[in-house]
């Protein structure tokens, strides 16, 4: 019967083209296990997600970051990753674009607030 084995075979064939079959990442130490568990619960999964699912998600995230980094290195200033490159790369994805704008804006606000706070302290 065509079930998980066939799906797994099919996936591996497709994933190989994407440059990073699960075999490679299996040797790497798990970087995000704890955080990903909390994240999956927050996004709607069960309170105790399956370890295999967490592993698959970690591999996907690492692949995403790797791909982004490679693309960012190839545009703008070569060999370096800059924020403008990242913003350019996700311009078509409204969610991610809005999120990055929000995060960077908030970071500026916080830096300004901290600086003002420190200066006030220093003055007094």
């Amino acid at each position: 019967m065509a079930e998980e084995e066939d799906e797994a075979g099919f996936d591996d064939d497709m994933d190989d083209g994407a440059g990073g079959a699960d075999g490679n990442h299996g040797k790497r130490k798990r970087l995000f296990s704890k955080e990903l568990r909390c994240m999956m619960y927050g996004f709607g999964d069960d309170q105790n997600p399956y370890t295999e699912s967490v592993d698959i998600l970690e591999d996907l995230v690492i692949e995403f970051v790797t791909e982004m980094t490679h693309k960012a290195m190839s545009i703008g200033r070569q060999g370096r990753v800059q924020v403008e490159d990242i913003v350019f790369l996700i311009r078509k994805d409204p969610r991610k674009f809005a999120r990055v704008k929000d995060l960077l804006t908030m970071n500026e606000e916080l830096k300004r607030a901290r600086k003002a706070f420190d200066e006030a302290n220093y003055g007094s």
């Binding site: 995000f32 996907l60 490679h70």
Partner: protein, 233 residues
Amino acid sequence: MADPARIKTESNSEQSLAAGESPKTEDTEEVPVTSADTESKDTSSQSIIHENKQDSVAEDEGTAGHPASKKLKVEPEKKKDRRQKVDEDEIQKMQVLVSSFSEEQLNRYEMYRRSAFPKAAIKRLIQSITGSSVSQNVVIAMSGISKVFAGEIVEEALDVCEKWGDMPPLQPKHMREAEEQRADPQYKAQEHSLPLSHTCLADYRRTEPSWDVFHLSDSGNLHTTLSCSFSLF
């Protein structure tokens, strides 16, 4: 605007967190009182960002006197006020919503807001690829969009799980199906829970079928030439 997240509980599901929620990023642990100030500033700067396309008029509060610049000054401020009011409404609605959460929903919401990728690990990962150091903003941006990415996958996998009639926790097959659907939106595979008949071949649907070569073997079984082959009997 910011991440619409679906929080799935037993019976409820809600959508669309407001942009005003973004102040509570990984860095902030402030009490709501202080974040209210930054929120209003945030909305004003947000309104500037979002008005980039329409009116490229910057806020020149420094210019004096000219009627033209006064008129230009009034319009973005009106829009800013309207935008602030809309955001404040959204913030208020969010507060009403969160105050009516059950215990489990509150837990899940807290996990959703507080979970984040460790900046050190992300930085190490990026630097191992580039070979040179990256700025802090890059790490912040990358962690943020990675979290959105993870959220998209989990939401898609939950949809797949529901469509296939399974229950959470999510299984690897749901995650893989979600990733496939993300990569190729036209592709829809269905789980074979029924005994295979020749009509089930239509389950693997694409916009243009790229396989239409079937051969009947001697025994009368029907085989496809796909990499995932299965036999009908």
